[in-house]
């Protein structure tokens, strides 16, 4: 008798766990979220053009300095050197255009840019690096901030009065 009672109790207890309707377990539902973040670079300049004035025509004279702000947001920056490249379309006789990254103000926490060397770089018709990446946190693939590039012109010879035009191209490279 005791054995029968025990077996009946056991059957009832097992049923409480395993024989309930499936929906009775439905006190919640799990949902998977998926997104794909696209590799992207947003690189903008605060100005579309700038002027430099040489107040003296003698060789060695240096013009005033133009500071141009650039904003960069990139999310897949694997490259750690020469992330910012600058070049000009034509070389001007007797005039050298020089540039340097002055500052980088970061909006993110993963990485920032630093000037490549301390001095000005003389521009040419091919790309030259002016800034490198420094990782601050994680793999540093997000670079988000504002950068200032300074430009000035240097007279390499005595110059005749006049006006010269050139186009400067600045490129941000992520990989």
């Amino acid at each position: 008798m005791r054995a029968k009672f025990f077996l009946a109790f056991l059957a009832w207890a097992v049923c409480q766990f395993y024989c309930r309707p499936a929906a009775a377990d439905g006190d919640g539902v799990d949902v998977v979220l998926h997104l794909s973040s696209q590799s992207a670079i947003t690189f903008t300049s605060s100005q579309s053009s700038f002027n430099l004035t040489l107040s003296d025509f003698a060789a060695g004279s240096v013009s005033d300095t133009a500071q141009i702000a650039y904003s960069v947001t990139a999310n897949d920056v694997g490259r750690i050197q020469d992330n910012v490249m600058v070049r000009m379309d034509v070389l001007m006789d007797g005039i050298a255009l020089e540039t340097r990254m002055d500052s980088f103000s970061s909006r993110g926490t993963q990485a920032h840019l630093v000037s490549k060397g301390s001095g000005f770089v003389t521009l040419n018709t091919f790309d030259q690096g002016v800034a490198d990446k420094v990782t601050d946190q994680g793999d540093g693939k997000i670079v988000d901030g504002d950068m200032i590039l300074s430009y000035h012109a240097r007279a390499m010879a005595d110059l005749a009065a006049g006006q010269h035009e050139a186009t400067v191209t600045v490129t941000f490279v992520d990989n």
Binding site: G26, D27, G28, V29, D30, V31, V32, H34, S36, A40
Partner: protein
């Protein structure tokens, strides 16, 4: 001798109680059915499964995900609430993490009188958050849960996965 044996057998057969072959006996057993009170929640994305495609996200561009339809089935008249919580945060295989405030959500009102507890775009909290209240007498209902990925904070490139749980709590 054989005659005696046959006579004895005939006597035995004739004296057997006829009840064994005729008549009927009836037993009545009381039977009780128990139907448990059940309240279950189901979620269905556009693909028909419990998943949400948040889309292809670009830095600087807010991306609204496909809607998640949430259905509550119940056979009780108890009031209930639906809660939202992360089971696992949204991360990429490369270790990229959704920045704080990167995901927002909004919940519609119920088709059968339930009320949204998140009526405008709200940052999805890390912990448990109440998102829906049933009508006064409970009952089946359905609503839509929408997600929005903010493009304000750049997200490292890659595929990201996370998991949330929608829980029912009866009052």
């Amino acid at each position: 001798m054989l005659k005696r044996i046959l006579l004895f057998l005939m006597t035995v057969v004739m004296t057997l109680p006829l009840k064994l072959f005729a008549d009927a006996d009836t037993k009545t057993l009381p039977l009780t059915f128990y139907i448990q009170p059940v309240t279950a929640v189901r979620a269905e994305g556009a693909a028909g499964s419990a998943s949400v495609e948040l889309g292809r996200v670009l830095p600087g561009v807010d991306q609204q995900a496909e809607a998640l339809k949430v259905t509550i089935r119940t056979n009780s008249e108890q009031r209930y609430k639906i809660f939202h919580r992360y089971l696992s945060s949204i991360t990429s295989a490369g270790g990229g993490q959704m920045p704080e405030g990167g995901l927002r959500f909004m919940v519609s009102g119920g088709s059968a009188g339930g009320q949204s507890a998140v009526q405008s775009w709200t940052e999805v909290p890390e912990g448990r958050a109440e998102i829906f209240n049933s009508g006064d007498s409970g009952g089946a209902d359905s609503f839509t849960l929408n997600y929005l990925v903010s493009g304000k904070k750049p997200l490292e490139a890659g595929d990201y996965f996370g998991q949330v749980r929608l829980e029912i709590e009866q009052n």
